[in-house]
Symmetry: C2
Subunit: 238 residues, 2 copies
C-alpha cells in the first residue's frame, strides 16, 4: 500500500475522522477511493455503521496504522477516507468570491459558514491556500462536499463569466456603505468579494464593485477574515 | 537567563511578534518584565521604534536566540515580550460570558471580535482553555490587552455578582427566539452567553437566560464557536 502526505498536485486528498468520512459517504460517495481504519480493539457504533455503509457502496476498507502516522492523525482519529479531488462548476445563484485567502483554518471555517447560510457557490482567485488541503477539509467540517467550488484565474475572467452578478467588495474604506446600509439595498444574484487576511482587497476592486465596510472599533486592527465573511454572509442572507 | 515554555501556572506569559509587543507597550507597558530580541542583521524600522519605546520605559531588552527556540517562534518573529498575567475586574457594562471554551484559536479570535464591537468585559467559566496561553494571545492580535477578563468558578457565582444583567444564551433550540427577533427587543446591560465548541451550553442555562438561536441550514452540524459569537456580538451592538 502506497500512502504519502498530501501534496497540492495530488489527485486525491484525505478526510480525517469519522465525522468527515460520514459526510463524504452521505454526500459524495463516488469520490471515495478507499477508507483506512486504524487497528483498534474498541470500535464504536458510529464506526461500525460507517464500515457497513462503505461495504454496501463497495468501497475498499484497509486496516492499517500507517496512513494515520503518515498523515499525522490524532490518536482519537480511527478513520480516514482517501477521495478524488473534484469540483463542480459554479451556478447562477449567489456567490462568495475569495481573493487570495491564505489560511487553511479560515478557508474551511468560511466554507462551513457559507453552507450554513445557504451560499453554495465558492470562487477562489489565486494565489491561495489549496482548498483540498486536509486542514481545510477538516475546518470545513465536511461543508466542502456541499459546495460548487472553482479556482478562477483572475477577476477579469470572473466578471466576464458572471456579468449579471451584483458585486459587493468588503474593504476597510470609510467612504464605503456600511454593512447595515448595504443589506437593505442588496440586489440579486450577488457576489460577496473578500480579500486576503493581511492585505485585504486591491484598491482596484472598488471600480467594479459596490464597496462595503463593517463598522468596528479603532482598538483592533481589523476583523479576522472568517469573522468578516460570516457577518457578510449572514447579513446578505436574512 | 532562565526561559521555559509557557505553563498554565506560570506567573508570566509571552507575546510573540512585533505587532503584539507593540500593542502591549502601548496599552499595558507596566506588565512587561522583559523583551527578547532575536540576534539579526537586518532590523526594520518598526523594531527600532519598539526598542526605543522599551528603553524609554526602562524595560530590559535581551538579545538572544534561545527564547525563540524554546517558544517555537517562527523565523520571522524577531521580538517576544514576557509579561505578567494580570486581569482586571469586570465592570457593569455589557458582558460576554464563555462557558467552557476549549480552543485557543477560537478564544483569541473571540477576544479580537469582542473588542472590535466594543464589548470590553469577558467572563470565562472553567474548565476552559487558558486565556493567557500564547496561542490565545496571538489569535487575539493583542485584543486581550484591551479587555476586563475574569475566570468565574460557576454560573451561580456569575449570576449573584451581576444580578442586573439581562442574560441571553445561544443554544441550538428551535423554540428559542431568532437572533433577529432578540436583537430588536434586547435590554441592557446584557450578557451574551456561549457554550463549548462541541457540547454547546448545558440545557439548564435556559432556565436563567432568554434563549436565542441563529437560523442555519441543516446541511452543516453547527457554526464554529467564534463565528456564532461574532454574529451575536455584531447583532447586539448595532
Amino acid at each position: 500500500m502506497k500512502i504519502s502526505r498530501y501534496k497540492h498536485d495530488s489527485e486525491t486528498s484525505y478526510a480525517l475522522g469519522a465525522t468527515l468520512v460520514f459526510e463524504l459517504l452521505k454526500n459524495k460517495p463516488e469520490l471515495i477511493t478507499k477508507i483506512f481504519l486504524r487497528p483498534t480493539e474498541k470500535q464504536g457504533e458510529d464506526i461500525t455503521k460507517i464500515l457497513q455503509s462503505a461495504e454496501e457502496k463497495q468501497i475498499p476498507v484497509i486496516e492499517s496504522a500507517k496512513p494515520f502516522n503518515v498523515l499525522n492523525a490524532k490518536d482519537a482519529c480511527l478513520l480516514i477516507a482517501e477521495f478524488k479531488k473534484s469540483s463542480t462548476k459554479l451556478d447562477d445563484n449567489n456567490h462568495l468570491l475569495l481573493v487570495n485567502p491564505s489560511d487553511a483554518g479560515n478557508l474551511g471555517t468560511i466554507m462551513r459558514t457559507a453552507v450554513a447560510f445557504g451560499i453554495k457557490n465558492l470562487a477562489i482567485i489565486p494565489p491561495a491556500v489549496d482548498p483540498y488541503d486536509p486542514k481545510v477539509i477538516r475546518a470545513s467540517m465536511g461543508a466542502i462536499f456541499h459546495l460548487n467550488l472553482e479556482i478562477i484565474p483572475d477577476f477579469e475572467t470572473y466578471k466576464s463569466r458572471f456579468p449579471n452578478h451584483h458585486r459587493y467588495a468588503f474593504m476597510l474604506n470609510k467612504d464605503a456603505k456600511t454593512l447595515d446600509e448595504a443589506k437593505t439595498s442588496k440586489e440579486s444574484p450577488f457576489t460577496l468579494v473578500m480579500g486576503n487576511e493581511a492585505a485585504g482587497l486591491p484598491a482596484s476592486y472598488s471600480e467594479d464593485c459596490e464597496t462595503i465596510f463593517i463598522p468596528q472599533s479603532d482598538e483592533v486592527d481589523s476583523l479576522n477574515l472568517s469573522i468578516a465573511t460570516a457577518l457578510a454572509l449572514y447579513a446578505f442572507t436574512r
